[in-house]
Subunit: 366 residues, 4 copies
C-alpha cells in the first residue's frame, strides 16, 4: 500500500524485476500537455543498464509504451499508463539463491513482511522498479516547464567514494553532466571516479557516493506546511530510492557547526524582487520555496550486490556463503542521477498543482 | 493542505503561536488503549519553554485538555481531540516586525504563498506548532508499547555546534537522557554543551546540533515499499520539524566512503532468530524493518532568531535592520528531543497498523 | 479513521455528544476569504435543537469559537479549528441504557467494532457530530461564493411521511425555505407536515421524509471521473449523514421507467452557451457538472429514538424492554436541511479546488 | 485525479475505449492469496460484450494479463497490475461525431473540464473503463472469502423498465442469477424482461432498471464513521458506475412512509448471537455492519446511446441531428450485475482490512 506518490500529480508504480514488466499510472496530469513516447524514452535511456562501461552490462532496451491518457500527442487529463516489458531474463540464474538471504538485500525483510517473495532477482526491491518513477518524472518535467518557463532541474554526481568533485551548483547545466559516463560535471574528478569504479569492479566490490541536485526558476510559495514541507517531501522522495542513506537540504549537516549570525540568509532587493544574499536555506524557508535555487544532497551506499564471497544464512537459519557473481553495478551513482531528478520533479509538480488550487488571488489579479 | 500525517494512525494539527490555541486531532487510534491527560502532559512538559536555564525563558504551562475520544481513561476508537490554549502573549511586542521579513524565518515565504500572514509571532511557522505532534506522539507510544512489549524509543542530543558526545546508541536509555538539561547522555560532553549554549546566548547568537534516535523492540516487517519505506517516512517526518536540515539512516553519509564488502550487514542466527552482525543498515533493508535497532540522525540549524542586529528588508523591499531582542532559544536541541521522538513514534505506529491490516497469515497462525 | 472528508478542502471532525465538545479542523481553505464567527453561527443556529416547536426541546446554544486559521477576519491558509463546547448534560439520564442495545441505534455496532462505547448519549453516533460539518460547510459556502458569483445552494423538505410538497426546484430560494419551521417552501404542505409531526410526537413515535437540494451557478467541469464523480461524491456525502437511507441524482429511480429517447437531455445553444432543454441528468454527465442546476434528493428514515416501549436485548443478550422517554426529534428533516447543504457545499468546494489545480489553459487564457 | 478507490485495498484504473488498452493496479492486496488469470477472466466474461443476444453485439475477448504482483499463483503483497488490450476498433466509425455533443453523453462535460477529449468512442467515459473494476473486484472477492468463510455476494436484476421481479433477497444465490441472459432470478419476470429488451432494441431505443445486491456472512464491525460509513462507501461506489442515478440501503426511500415504531429493527438473541428480527436497516447501523445481510438497490437510467435520430448541437454550438447507429446495449443491466458486485467487493474488502488494523483486542484474545 505504499506504491503511490503525490497528492494531485499522483503516480502509482508496479512491477517486479522478473514477470510481465514494470510500469506506472500517472493520475492528475493536467490536460493538453504535449507528450510523446520519445519524451519518456529519453529519460529511460539515461537510467538504462548497459549504457556505458561503468554500469552493469545487462542489456535491456527498456522501451516505453504509452497505453492511455494521451491522444494526438497531447495529454487528455485521464490517467497515463506506461508499460515497459521485462526482457526474458533467465530465472535459472537465481535458483541458487532461492533459499539464501543475501546480505543487505531485502530478501529477509520481504520474507518477514509478506511471508513470500519473488526470489527471481530482486523482485519489487530491484532498482528496476525505478523505471516507473523515471517515466513519470519525464512527464512531470514537461508540466513544470509549462508552469515555470525558467524551470531547470540538474542532478549530478558530486562524490564517489573518497573522490569529491568541485562544482559550482549555481552554474552547472544538464549538458555538463551528460558529458561523461559518471555524470560528474567536474571533468578532472570524473576521470578519477571512472578509474576507481573500474578498479572496484575488478575487485568484485562496490562503492557509494553523493548526488547533488539543484532546481532553478521555481516560484516562491511551493510547499505545504506543516507536514508536506518542500524539504520533507524531497527527503521522503530521495530516501524512497534504493540504496539511499542520507539527505541534506541547503547547508545540511554543515549547519551544525555554524552560528545563527553566519547561517541566516539576509534578505535584499535584487533585480526588483526579494532575494537572499546567501542560500544556506537551500531555497526553502518554513517549508516553502523562497525563489532561490533549491539545493539538496543525497548519500548512496555502496551497492549490496558484490562479486566477493560473503558469509550469510539460509532461509532456515543455517550458515552458508554466497558469491553472487553475474553482472552488477559497482556504483549506482551514474544511473541514479535521472532517478533523483525524476523524484524531485514529481515533488515539485505535485506541490505546484497544490499551490495553484488555493491561489484564488493570483488568478483574480492576473 | 499539509497538516495531516499518517495513513491509519492519522493526525491533523492546527494552531498558530498567537490566537485561541494549538492542538491536534488523532484519527485511527485503536480502541481500549489506556490514556489520561497525564500521559500527554508528561511529554509536553519535556517540550515546554522555561523548563531549564538553557531554553527560552518564556513561561507557558501548556496544559493539555482531551476533548473527545476517551471515556473512563480508555480510547474509544473515535477521534481524540487535544487542545492547548495559548496564554495571552502581548501582541504589541510584534508590532515592530509587522512590515519586516526576518532573515531565515518564514515571514517572506508565507507572504509569498498565502498573500497574508499572522505577523504576531511565528504564526503557524512557530515551533509552538509542534505541541500537537508531541501530544499525538505520546498516544502513539502507548499504542506501540501495547503492540511491541519490548518497544523502546530514545532520542538524545549527540552534538551541539562542535561538541560531539560519545554515546553507545545500543545501550542508551531515556533515563540517561533526562539526567541533564541539554538531554545528552554523555555527562562530560553535556557540561561543555551547556556552557557553550550559555555563552552563545550571552553573545546574542545561536547554535545548532545533531539529535540521534534509536528504536528497539520493533518487529521485522514494518515499512511499505516502494514510496512509504520506513526510512522515507522517517526522513519526511524529521524534515517536517522546524529547523531541520539533514537526515541519515544507519551509516548515513559515512556510507559513502565505505566499500560494499565492509558495509554489507552479514546475516547470522542469534538467540534463535535472524540477526545481523553489524547494523550499517540502521535497522531497515529494502525499506522494511529487519528487527535490529532502528537508528537515525537529524541535523538542526542554529536558531534563526538571534539578539544581534541584522540587515534585512521591509515587506515593500526597502533595506532596514532588525534586532529582535526578547527571549529565544539559543539552541533548539534540548526541546527538540521529544519532538523527534514524537515524530518517530507516529511513523512507527502508523506503519505497524498498516502491517497488521495485511497480515492475514500471522493472525491465522496465532 | 473515517473522520476526514475532502481531498483539497479537507475537513476532520471530532467529538461525542457527551465530553468536552465537538468540532472540526478545516485544512486547505484558500487564504484571504472573509470569515467571522458570525458566518458560522448563522448556519449552526439553523441546525440547533430547540429552535422551534417541532424539533427536540433540548436547549443548547452551540456557540462556535474559531481557534486558529483566521486573522483580522480573513483566512490565513492555515488550518481553521472550530470548537463548540458541550453543555453539561446529565449523564445520570443515560445510566438506564448502559447495558441495553437500543433498536436501530448504533449501540450494538459500536460495541462490535470497538469493544467499547460511550454510553452517555449517542456518543460519536449522535447527530451532534454534524455540528462540525455544518460549521465547515459555512466556510465552504463562502469559498464557493467567491469562486462562482452566481452560486446558490438551497435544500428544503420535499416530503414528510406521506405528505408531498409541490415545489419548482428551479425557482426555490433559501428565503422561501426559512419561512416556516419545517423548512418546506410549499406553505400549504408545510402546514400539514407540522401538524403531522406534532401528532407523531404526541404518539411517542417518529416519521421520516425527503430533502431535495438544488445548486445553481456552478461552472461546467467539476467532478473527477471515474471514482470521484460529482454524483458519487454527493451520494457518499449524503449517505454519511445520520438517518439517511437513499440518494437520487436528477431523475433518480424514476429514470427506470423511462426510455432513452425520453430521458436523454438534448443540447441546445441558449443565451450564447451550451445548455440542455431538459435536466433529467441532474446537472451532471459522465460524473462532471454540465452547468445546469445540480439536483438531488435524500431519503431520511424515521428517527430511531421514540418514546414508546420497545422490545430489545441487554448487552449480555437477555430480553428486555426500553422506553427511552426524554426529549427527541420526532422528525429530523427540519434540522437536516442545513446538514444537507453543508455536505453539498463541502463536495463542491473540494471539486472546484481540484479543478483549478489542473486547469492550466483556463488560467493562461484569462 | 479520481481514478483510485479504497484506502488500504486500493485500486487505480486507467484506459480509454480506444488506445492501448484498459487496466488496473491493485495496491494493498494481502500476500499469499491464491490467484490466477482464470479467477479474473471468469468475472470479465460476465461483463463482456457479445455474451448473449440482449447485449451489444460487439465481440471483444477482453483477455486479462497479470503483469505483476503474483508469483507461483500467489499474491506477493506487491502491486498487482492487470492489462486488457483494446481490440483494434475502427476509429473511422467515430469520425462523424468528432464535432458533435451526443445527448446525455459525457462529450460536452469532458470538453468543458479538460479542453480536449478522445472522440474515438466514449474515451474514458466509456463503460469499457469498468473492466479494471471488475478485474480488481474478482481479487477482492478472493480476499473476502479468505477473511469470512461464509462470505457470499449476489447482485441481480430486480427491475427492467416497468417489469418488476419477485425475489427473496435472503435466499437468492449466484447460480440462480446466472440461469438467464438478463440475470434476473425470477424466471417468469426474466422472460418478459428479455422480450422487452428485444423490443426496445428493435425500436432503436433503450431502457433502464434496478439492480439489487445482497451480501451475506460479513462480520459485524465493518464501516468507518463518520464519513466512511459502510452505506456511504457503497453509495459512492455505485454512483461512480456509469448510468447510475440512485442508491438505497435497506428500506431506502420506502422508509419515508414508515413510522419509527415500524421501522426500528428489534434486537434478539438467535443462534447464540445478536440478531435483528427485521432488517430495514439493510445490515448497517450507525454506518457499521451489524452482521445481518447487507442489502442495497441501484437505479440505472436507460442507455444514452440509441439508434434513433436526435436533435443536438455541434461543438461550435450549431443545431444538428445525430443518429449514432451501430451496435449498443439497449439495456445495460445484465452486464452491470458483475460491475455492482465488483464495487461492493472492493468496498467491503477495504473496510475489512481497515477494521483488522485497529482490532488489537480481537487478535490478542484469539
Amino acid at each position: 500500500m505504499g506504491n503511490s506518490f503525490g497528492q494531485l500529480f499522483r503516480i502509482t508504480t508496479w512491477g517486479e524485476s522478473h514477470g510481465g514488466g514494470v510500469g506506472v499510472v500517472i493520475d492528475g496530469c493536467p490536460p493538453r500537455i504535449q507528450l510523446t513516447e520519445a519524451d519518456i524514452q529519453r529519460e529511460l535511456d539515461r537510467r538504462r543498464p548497459g549504457q556505458s562501461s561503468i554500469v552493469t552490462q545487462r542489456n535491456e532496451a527498456d522501451r516505453a509504451e504509452i497505453l492511455s491518457g494521451v491522444f494526438d500527442d497531447q495529454t487528455l487529463g485521464t490517467p497515463i499508463a506506461i508499460l515497459v516489458r521485462n526482457e526474458d531474463a533467465d530465472p535459472e540464474a537465481y535458483k541458487k539463491i532461492v533459499n539464501i538471504f543475501r546480505p543487505s538485500h531485502a530478501d529477509y525483510t520481504y520474507e518477514a513482511k509478506y511471508g513470500i517473495r519473488n526470489w527471481r532477482g530482486g523482485g519489487r526491491a530491484s532498482a528496476r522498479e525505478t523505471i516507473g518513477r523515471v517515466a513519470a518524472g519525464a512527464v512531470a518535467q514537461l508540466v513544470l516547464t509549462r508552469l515555470f518557463p525558467q524551470f531547470e532541474l540538474v542532478a549530478y554526481v558530486a562524490q564517489v567514494h573518497e573522490v569529491m568533485a568541485k562544482i559550482d551548483s549555481r552554474r552547472v547545466r544538464r549538458s555538463d553532466v551528460e558529458r561523461n559516463a559518471v555524470r560528474c560535471p567536474d571533468e578532472a574528478a570524473a576521470k578519477i571516479m571512472i578509474q576507481q569504479i573500474d578498479q572496484v569492479r575488478r575487485d568484485g566490490d562496490s562503492v557509494g557516493g553523493v548526488i547533488e541536485c539543484v532546481i532553478r526558476g521555481v516560484d516562491a510559495g511551493l510547499g505545504e506546511p506543516v507536514f508536506d514541507k518542500l524539504e520533507a517531501e524531497l527527503a521522503r522522495a530521495m530516501l524512497s530510492l534504493p540504496a539511499t542513506k542520507g539527505f541534506e537540504i541547503g547547508s545540511g549537516f554543515s549547519a551544525v557547526t555554524m552560528r545563527g549570525s553566519e547561517h541566516n540568509d539576509r534578505f535584499e532587493t535584487r533585480d526588483g524582487r526579494v532575494r537572499t544574499t546567501t542560500n544556506f536555506s537551500g531555497g526553502v524557508q518554513g517549508g516553502i520555496s523562497n525563489g532561490e535555487d533549491i539545493f539538496f544532497r543525497v548519500a548512496f551506499k555502496p551497492t549490496s550486490t558484490i562479486a566477493r564471497e560473503q558469509q550469510t544464512i539460509t532461509t532456515s537459519g543455517e550458515e552458508t556463503t554466497i558469491a553472487p557473481g553475474g553482472r552488477h553495478d559497482p556504483c549506482v551513482l551514474p544511473r541514479a542521477v535521472p532517478m533523483v531528478e525524476a523524484m524531485a520533479a514529481l515533488v515539485l509538480c505535485d506541490l505546484a498543482l497544490r499551490q495553484r488550487a488555493i491561489s484564488l488571488q493570483q488568478r483574480d489579479e492576473t
